[in-house]
């Protein structure tokens, strides 16, 4: 079953045509990776899925239901099911780590504070931040902030997780940890869309890889194919460049 269906979606930042005719289906429990050069619109695609960038045309279905992005209750509905980890982490600067993780589940989802607190502690321990609970975001390194953001997203118990460059600020050891976490989540049936520059990571976890360039999807292929024998020339150029850098 397609959990997310995007049909020829177009989106703009004022005049900039940032997403062009996007067609993409994501099945339940699937891990789809987005790759592509800087500025190609990967983050924008994720933002569109949580309604931070409103598509101008096209159709987007979530669990077979058409989403009306101008309807508040539709927006609320998709945001209940989809959680996002931003590229810039976007932690709340006025709250400590624990509060960052707990605020939405308690204040917005109105769940039992005690139960939320327990889950938050568990998640923060899993990402190795149990001794940073009372720290504020500006006292944390980039990688630490990233892990708080991951815990914050998971604590919302979403069905779908959008991860934007979550490995970019992590050292290799942590990448492995995060990778394990993601695999575990996948085995529990969580659907994931992951933006990454880390090709090994992409190769290992994803069921399919989407290559984007200049706002369009150029190619969707299996991870093996996209790195070894891509069907598009632009994909080949991009993959070649990235592999050479390594």
């Amino acid at each position: 079953m397609h959990q997310i269906e995007i049909k020829s979606a177009n989106a703009f930042y004022e005049k900039l045509h940032v997403l062009k005719n996007i067609d993409l289906n994501v099945d339940k429990g699937e891990i789809v990776s987005l790759i592509g050069p800087s500025g190609s619109g990967k983050s924008s695609l994720l933002k569109m899925l949580v309604g931070l960038l409103i598509p101008k045309s096209g159709k987007i279905f979530l669990n077979k239901t058409l989403i009306n992005f101008h309807n508040q209750s539709d927006l609320r509905n998709i945001r209940e099911q989809i959680a996002i980890v931003f590229q810039q982490y976007n932690l709340f600067q006025n709250m400590n780590v624990l509060k960052n993780v707990c605020i939405a589940p308690t204040k917005i989802q109105k769940r039992n504070p005690k139960e939320v607190n327990e889950q938050a502690l568990y998640l923060l321990e899993k990402v190795g931040l149990q001794d940073k609970l009372k720290s504020y975001p500006d006292e944390l390194s980039g990688g630490q902030q990233q892990r708080v953001a991951i815990a914050r997203a998971l604590c919302l118990n979403p069905q779908i997780l959008l991860l934007d460059e979550i490995t970019s600020a992590l050292d290799p050891e942590l990448v492995k940890e995060v990778l394990d976490t993601i695999r575990l989540l996948a085995s529990e049936g969580m659907t994931m869309l992951i933006v990454s520059h880390e090709m090994n990571f992409v190769k290992e976890v994803s069921s399919r890889v989407v290559f984007m360039d200049d706002g369009s999807i150029i190619e969707i292929n299996s991870p093996k194919n996209i790195f070894e024998k891509p069907s598009e020339k632009r994909t080949l150029d991009f993959v070649g460049k990235i592999l050479k850098e390594k």
């Binding site: 933002k47 949580v50 309604g51 931070l52 609320r76 945001r79 209940e80 959680a83 996002i84 931003f86 810039q88 976007n90 932690l91 709340f92 600067q93 006025n94 605020i103 939405a104 204040k107 917005i108 989802q109 919302l156």
Partner: protein, 227 residues
């Protein structure tokens, strides 16, 4: 000079001291009420100004016009305008009330702007994160934006309080018994202008200086905290 020294004991009689203290109280009260109302109503204006809903568009336009007008008309002119409007509609001829209302209306326009630019100083990422987690506009303001923005709002707000202590001097023009009017009365009674106006200059300074210091201190403290 000699005349001045001779005059001083006559000037600082108990009656005059009480008279000036009362006037100082009026100046303080005018400012305090104006700033309090300005902060609450101005805060509301700023909140409505940043809404997106199409239904609130008329309110947003009204707010823009309101703030633009009252920040572009001299305090003295607004004061006289309200003074004469009140005479026509005959609601009240209480001069203190008229001055207070004028002060509140103008303070609301200025402080509303200060609060709005404080809200705008907060990074868009904070709004995005909140929206993605289903925070409503008001929840975002309460939980995330204002707890961060007050540091940006307070220093200019203090500058504004001081400006208002000084601007209330203009209320003397419609006859409100505040410090400046008191000095004019003393001057008319035959006390030397040097003494009358010199004294209230000092009294204004006493009202304003602590606020000025406190505002600057806070500005420094908040600036160093942030990095």
């Amino acid at each position: 000079m000699e005349r001045l020294i001779e005059e001083i004991p006559n000037f600082f009689t108990i009656w005059n001291v009480i008279f000036l203290a009362k006037a100082m109280g009026v100046t303080f009260l005018l400012t305090a009420i104006g700033c309090l109302v300005g902060f609450s109503v101005g805060g509301l204006l700023a909140i409505f100004r940043k809404t997106k809903s199409i239904y609130l568009l008329p309110i947003r336009i009204f707010i823009i016009i309101y703030t633009e007008i009252f920040r572009r008309v001299p305090f003295l002119v607004s004061l006289l305008l309200f003074f004469y409007v009140f005479q026509i509609i005959k609601i009240s001829d209480n001069l203190f009330l008229i001055a207070t209302i004028t002060v509140c209306i103008i303070a609301t326009a200025y402080i509303g702007e200060i609060i709005r630019s404080g809200i705008e100083s907060i990074n868009q990422t904070q709004w995005d994160a909140a929206a993605a987690m289903n925070f409503s506009y008001y929840q975002t303001l309460r939980e995330i934006i204002f707890p961060q923005a007050w540091k940006v709002i307070l220093p200019p707000a203090f500058g504004f309080f001081i400006m208002f202590i000084k601007d209330t001097a203009l209320a003397s023009q419609i006859g409100v018994m505040e410090l400046t009017f008191a000095a004019k009365i003393l001057n008319n009674k035959g006390f030397s202008p040097l003494l009358s106006f010199g004294t209230i200059l000092i009294l204004y300074f006493i009202l304003s200086f602590p606020l000025d210091r406190f505002g600057k201190f806070m500005e420094k403290k908040l600036a160093s905290n942030r990095n």
